[in-house]
């Protein structure tokens, strides 16, 4: 009987406690580093607000006529660039605005800024153009751009 009880004995409470503490620390460290990886990706603007939240404050007017795309930043958020989604029958293609038009300002459109440019070659045959704002913010690794969700873009029906 005594021998049986002796066999069932596990590690000592001291060792168990040490192991538990070590495991908590290790698991905590792993979880922290794992999530820290996520947080590094966060891009912020205007003093720490996540750039995804800033996207809803972007305000701009746009028009397309005779191949000329015109954009005016009427809000308070500088727009660094645009993704231009050109939808044609059965297909769509997305361009960075600076790659399809001449003269896009290096710093983007600031408050009250306006821009006009010819995108007729890229928009030829298109049924619809969607302008998706791209903002520039700060992350731990430096300045980074962020393309807003398409819901914050503007459609121009041709």
């Amino acid at each position: 009987m005594d021998r049986k009880e002796k066999r069932r004995k596990a590690v000592s409470p001291v060792i168990a406690t040490t192991l538990l503490v070590a495991m908590v620390v290790v698991v905590g460290l792993i979880v922290f580093l794992w999530f820290k990886g996520f947080t590094q990706e966060a891009i912020t603007k205007f003093g720490g607000t996540n750039i995804e939240l800033i996207c809803k404050d972007v305000e701009f007017d746009s028009s397309y006529s005779g191949g000329i795309l015109s954009i005016s930043d009427i809000g308070n958020v500088p727009i660094y660039s645009f993704k231009v989604k050109v939808e044609k029958p059965g297909s769509h293609e997305t361009f960075d605005i600076e790659n399809i038009v001449l003269g896009w300002p290096d710093t983007g459109l600031n408050q009250g800024g306006i821009f006009s440019g010819d995108i007729s070659s890229s928009a030829s045959g298109a049924e619809k153009i969607v302008l998706i704002p791209v903002l520039r913010g700060i992350s731990d690794s430096g300045a980074r751009t962020h393309a807003c969700d398409e819901q914050y873009g503007k459609e121009i029906i041709l």
């Binding site: 905590g28 996540n50 009250g112």
Partner: protein
């Protein structure tokens, strides 16, 4: 014994572990999610509103005139202004801020226009276009821009956010209007009980059509009233009393003219165009600058052009009946200065400009002196801002804006604090003006001016210097923080017969500190 064997870690250690674990998890979650906490958005208040009163564009002069009114409940700073050049252009893409005729009422700020108050204000001091205010701004549109079809205005405000001054675009309050559109019709039945409201509607309650009629000012008059013959007389506009039959209309003015109290169509004094009843129009309604508040050429001045440019003529004002003009000032037959009342004076108002008749007919200390340099800051044609620089250069001035060399907005004319006349020159924020004068052929060089300061603190001073040539050491004549106007007169020993002497007014203070000078003279004999 059995219970003792089941014991794990102690309760205390368990709690500590739990707390540590909870703190770590909370820190991770907070770090991860903190950027998702919504912050206050920079946004203008809902009550911001502007109203375009008038928008005109003269294709021949390439001048666009914009008259706007703050129609809202909040102060605003200015506006973004964009234009289209055809009716088919949906979105305005021409930035007109670059073409603003900068003056006292508006200056360019980035790609926007900032409205100033008419006196001594600065960018960043706040939102100076207040509810109910109305401003007219001129834009000189280059020919390369082509025609202007419509203009869009987006108001802007300086707003405090997180203890920072931020510049906000009030896009919800944007307005767009075609060129030529003037005055949106607002029904007006004030004081009327009948007749039209000016917008095609009728004013209630109206008259009993069988016993009354409605007169020209919207009052019901009994049909049994007694009229007079020719109630208007020589009036061509406005209303006149027709016996007991109320008011009759004598006509309306066309062509932009307005009806005066005598029922005559006259020009709109201050719009820069010489119209019926005007002999000049310099674009303002101020007297003392050659063109009076009723747009008549003032005595001692000659005005030409539209907007009128007014010059001091070589004659004494008409009320100086005993004096004649000579050597730059008005003297009596003995060559001395004399007041209108006949008393000799030894100082006073150069060239008899500004001031009252009692002190205006005297010119300079001592007889036989000649003005080598004179500026009372009244004769500039566009004397409300940046164009001043070119004009002042013609008059021998060099302006040095030490802190804002790009916008050059620290030296300008001021029409609220002046020694005499309408304007003085205002210097602020470590800036200065420097006059360049030749004294060749003259001795007994005297330097006179009136000066005062405003808001100087501590060791801040308004400093006045002179020197021979353009590179020598400056001699400081005085450094003052006096807040009252004082006329100063200095004899410049060593300044005789020099091809160049320079005088300098330097404001040794910050951007809310002001030095003002007026009636600056250099004389010699």
């Amino acid at each position: 014994m059995l219970i003792n064997k089941k014991k794990g870690v102690s309760v205390l250690i368990g709690y500590v572990l739990l707390v540590v674990f909870a703190v770590i998890i909370a820190a991770i979650v907070f770090t991860w999610l903190k950027s998702y906490v919504p912050a206050d958005t920079l946004k203008c208040p809902d009550g911001v509103s502007v109203f375009i009163n008038e928008l005109t564009f003269d294709n021949s002069t390439r001048e666009m005139n914009l008259s706007i009114r703050n129609n809202g409940r909040f102060d605003i700073a200015g506006y973004f202004i964009h234009a289209t050049n055809s009716s088919s252009q949906e979105l305005p893409t021409i930035d007109l801020s670059a073409y603003l005729n900068q003056n006292y009422s508006a200056i360019k700020f980035g790609n926007s226009v900032i409205i100033q108050d008419n006196n001594i204000s600065l960018i960043g001091e706040g939102n100076l276009f207040r509810p109910g205010d109305q401003k007219s701004n001129i834009f000189d549109i280059p020919a390369a821009v082509g025609q202007i079809y419509s203009v869009r205005i987006i108001p802007t405000r300086f707003q405090e956010e997180d203890n920072k001054q931020r510049f906000a675009s009030c896009s919800d309050a944007k307005v767009q209007q075609p060129i030529g559109a003037q005055y949106i019709c607002v029904p007006d039945c004030s004081g009327k009980v009948c007749g039209g409201d000016g917008c095609g509607g009728s004013c209630a309650p109206g008259c009993n059509s069988s016993t009354e009629f409605c007169d020209a000012v919207g009052q019901c008059i009994s049909n049994t009233c007694t009229p007079v013959s020719n109630p208007c007389g020589t009036m061509v506009c406005g209303t006149a009393t027709n016996g007991t039959c109320g008011q009759v209309s004598c006509g309306t003015c066309s062509g932009g003219l307005s009806c005066n109290a005598s029922g005559q169509c006259v020009g709109n004094c201050g719009n820069g165009a010489i119209e019926t009843g005007e002999t000049c129009d310099d674009g303002d309604a101020a007297s003392g600058d050659g063109c009076s508040s009723t747009c008549q050429i003032e005595s001692g001045w000659s005005c030409t052009g539209q907007p009128s440019q007014c010059y001091i003529v070589n004659s004494c004002p008409s009320y100086c009946t005993s004096l004649s003009y000579g050597s730059g000032f008005c003297t009596n037959s003995a060559g001395n200065c004399q007041s209108g009342g006949g008393t000799y004076e030894s100082g006073g108002d150069p060239l008899c400009i500004g001031g009252s008749q009692a002190d205006t007919c005297c010119c300079v200390s001592g007889s036989g002196s000649t003005f080598l340099f004179f500026d009372n800051f009244e004769g500039y044609t566009n004397n409300r801002g940046i164009p001043l620089y070119n004009e002042m250069a013609v008059n021998g001035w060099t302006i040095i804006d030490n802190t804002h060399p790009i916008t050059d907005d620290d030296v300008y004319l001021n029409n609220t604090i002046q020694y005499q006349g309408v304007y003085s020159v205002l210097i602020q924020d470590e800036s200065e003006i420097m006059g360049n004068i030749s004294t060749t052929g003259y001795n007994n060089i005297n330097f006179g001016y009136a000066r005062r300061t405003l808001s100087l603190e501590g060791s801040e001073r308004f400093r006045i210097y002179w020197r021979v040539g353009s590179t020598g050491t400056w001699t400081q004549l005085e450094s003052t923080n006096s807040v009252t106007w004082q006329q100063q007169q200095w004899s410049l020993t060593g300044a005789e017969n020099k091809s160049l002497i320079q005088i300098r007014f330097f404001l040794d203070g910050e951007n809310t500190d002001y030095g003002l000078a007026d009636n600056i003279t250099i004389t010699g004999s």
